[in-house]
Amino acid sequence: MRTHHTRQASQSETLCTELFVALETAVLERVDQTDTFSLQGTLPAWWPSIFGTTTPPSTVRPGERSPFLKQFFTEAEQSWAGHAAGLMRSGPWTERDRHGTTLHLEATALVVDSRQLLLVARLGADFEQARTTLQQAREQALRHAQATKLQTRTESRLTSQLSQSEELRDDLLGVLQGLGLATILTDSQGRITFISDEAAGLLNLSTDRTGQRWDQVLSCSKTDRDAIWTRLRNPAEQHDPLTLHLETDNPRWLDVTVSPHPRHNEKRILLFHDTTEIHDLRRLLDEKARFHDLVGSSPSMMQVYQLVRDIARVDATVLIEGETGTGKELIARAIHCSSARKQGPFIAANCAGFTDSLLGSQLFGHKRGAFTGAVGDQAGLFESADGGTVFLDEIGDIPLNVQTSLLRVLQEKEITRLGEAKPRKVNVRVLAATHHNLSEDVARGTFRTDLLYRIRVARIQLPPLRDRRDDIPLLASAFLGHVRATMGKGVDQISPDALRLLLSYAWPGNVRELKNAIEFAAIGCKGQRITATDLPPEVTRSQSHTPLSTWMLPTTNHDERAQLLRALNQASGNRSEAAKLLGMSRATLYRRLANYGIDIPR
C-alpha cells in the first residue's frame, strides 16, 4: 500500500513537471527570502536564452537579468509573506533574448506548503490573440476618431460655408430689395422658388406664393401667358422684353424679361418692370399726337388741330392750303367729322384734270341729253352731299365758268343741273384745298376774286413735312403699324440708321411720300427691322447727293417751279422718277409742268 502511494506521488510529480514544460512555465522556489531562487523540475526551452543555461536544482538571481522582475519581487513580497491572499501576477512584460527575439512573459508569486514559489510563464497564443484583438480595437478607435474628426471638420467647414452663403445671400437679397428689382425665380416646373418684395408688391400678392406655379400668380391674358411660357422654354438674354397687361384690381403694364439661371439650366429668372406710367404717358401722347387720321405732335400741327376744332364749330367755307402730300383731304375729313355735319355725307372731288363740262356735270349734275353721252338724269356731288360736306381739292385748277357756278352755290346755296333751268337748294358745306397761291392766280386772272373771298372765309395752312421733322418718327411708326396690319408682315422696327435718313431727307412729297417710302421699305424688308438699305433710293441717296438746305422750299409759285426743275434734274429728266421724288402722280406732274411752261423733251 505504501509502495502504491509512493508510486502515485512520483507519477503526480512527473505529471506536474511535464505540465509546466508543456505550459512553457519555469518554476522557481525562493531561497531564504532573498531574490535568489532555486530552479525546480524541468526548465522550459526558452529559459536559457534569457536567464542562462543553469539547470535544476541550481540557484539563480533572475532579477539581475530583468529589471521588471526585480521590481515585481518587491510587490510579490506581499504574497510570499502571506500578507496578500492567493496569487500575485506581474502582468505581461517583454524581454529580448540573446538573439534579439522578443518574448512575452508573465510572473506569478505564490506560496504552496510554506514554500515561496515564482512561476515565470511564456505567454503564447492566447496572449497574441488578446494583443491582436486589442490592436484591432485601438486601430478601430483611431479610425473612428479620425472619421469623427474629419466629419467634424467637414461639418465645421460646411457650416462656415453655409453661414457665408447665407450671409452672401442676405447681402444680395438686401441689394436686390434695395434696388427694387421685381424678380421671380422658377424651377423646372415653373414653380416659384423666390419672389422679391418688389415683385410681390407689383403683382398685388399679399401672401407668400413660393411653391405655386407662376401662371397661378400672374393675372394676365392667355396670350400673354402663352408668350411667357414660350420664353420660359427658350429663354435668351438678347430677347426684347415681353409686354403684358396685368389684369388685377390695379391693372398694370409690365415688361417681362426671362433669363436662364446662371447655374441651373432648368431654372428661370423673371424680371418685371412696371411700365404702366410709360404706357399711360404714351397713350396721352398718342391721343395728343393724333387728331382723327392726322398724326403729329409738332407745335405747328397742334396749332392746326386747334384751328380745325375751332373751324368745325362754325359752318364757314374753308380754304386748306399746303404742298402736295401734306394731308389736306385728311384735314377736310377732320373738319367734317368734328362738325355738326358729321352724320351727313362727306364727298371729296379732285377738280384738276377735268374739262369744263365734265367737271360741271360732276359737281352739279345734269339733265338727260344735256350733252353728248348724258343718257340719263344725274345728280351732282353737291346734291349727293346734301346735309354734309363737299371737299374740292385742287380748286385752283377749276375753269372760270365752273368757278361762276361754284360762286352761286356758295352765295345762294343752290345748284342748277346742266341742261336744267331751275335751281335746286342744297345744304352743303364747302371745304376747298389747293397747292396754288390763289392770290397769284387772281392776279393772273385765272381765279375769280369774289370766289377767293368766298372760299377763304376760314383758312388753314398745312406745314410741309420738312418744317415738322419732329413728327417724322411718329408718322413713320404709324405708317409702319398700318403696313404691318395690311401686309401681315412682322416688320415692327426702324433701325437708327434708317431713321436718321428719314429725318434728313427733304420730303418734297411730304407725308404721302413718307408713307410710300415706309411701304416700299416694308415690302423689301427681310427681317423685323427696316434698315437703311430697305429705303427707296432717293432717300438713301439724299444724304450724299442733296444738301438738306436745297429742299428748304418756300411756297411761292416761283419756288415751286424751281422745285419741279430740281426734281427733274435729280431724276435725270425721268418724269416718273421726278413725280415719285415729289410724291405726286405723273398726271399731276405733267399738269404742273404745263402750268409753269416747263417743257421736257421725251
Partner: protein
C-alpha cells in the same frame, strides 16, 4: 554606474514605443504595434561627464482597455508624458496621468513631448494650452519619432535634471 528608471506615459498610439526605439536604436517604423504590458529598454547616456543608464519603462497606452498599474510606476526617477499633436484628447490623457503619478510618487522630474511634429499642419493642440502648462513650470518639447526631431534633447534634458536632483 547610476541607473535611472524613466516611465514613458501617455494615451495609446501617441508614439511612446517609437520615441524609445528612435532614442535607443535610432529606428522608426510607420506601422503601429500596440504595447501590452511593459517593455524595458536601457540606454547609457553620458551626462556632465558621468555615465548614467536610463531604464526606459515603455508602458502600455492608457485607455479604456488598459489602465496604468501603479506598481509599474514605483521606483521611477522621472517620467515622460507623450502627447500626439494631431489628437487633442491625448493631452487630456497626459494631464490625467501626470496627476496620477504625482499623487503616487510626488513631484519627481518629468517632461512632456508633443509628438508628430512632422505633421504639424494637422495638429489640433494649440500653443495656448501648452503655454499655460509652461507657466506652471512644465518642460515641453515638440518632436517627432519619425524624423528624430527633439528626441535626443528630450531624454538628455530629463537625464540631466535627474542627475542634478540626485546630487
Amino acid at each position: 554606474m547610476m541607473h535611472k528608471k524613466i516611465c514613458m506615459l501617455g494615451g495609446f498610439a501617441v508614439g511612446k514605443t517609437s520615441l524609445v526605439r528612435r532614442f535607443v536604436t535610432n529606428l522608426f517604423s510607420e506601422q503601429y504595434h500596440t504595447t501590452i504590458g511593459v517593455t524595458v529598454e536601457k540606454k547609457v547616456l553620458s551626462v556632465a561627464g558621468e555615465d548614467v543608464t536610463l531604464m526606459l519603462w515603455d508602458l502600455y497606452g492608457d485607455d479604456e482597455f488598459q489602465r496604468i498599474r501603479e506598481s509599474y510606476l514605483r521606483g521611477s526617477s522621472g517620467y515622460i508624458l507623450v502627447v500626439d499633436g494631431t489628437r487633442k484628447e491625448t493631452l487630456a490623457t497626459a494631464l490625467g496621468l501626470q496627476q496620477t503619478v504625482e499623487g503616487l510618487l510626488g513631484p519627481i522630474p518629468f517632461a512632456l513631448i508633443v509628438n508628430k511634429s512632422d505633421v504639424r499642419d494637422v495638429w489640433e493642440i494649440d500653443d495656448a494650452a501648452l503655454s499655460e502648462l509652461r507657466q506652471q513650470g512644465w518642460t515641453i518639447f515638440f518632436g517627432s519619432a519619425k524624423t528624430g526631431e527633439g528626441v535626443e534633447s528630450l531624454f538628455s534634458t530629463l537625464a540631466d535634471r535627474l542627475l542634478k536632483q540626485a546630487t
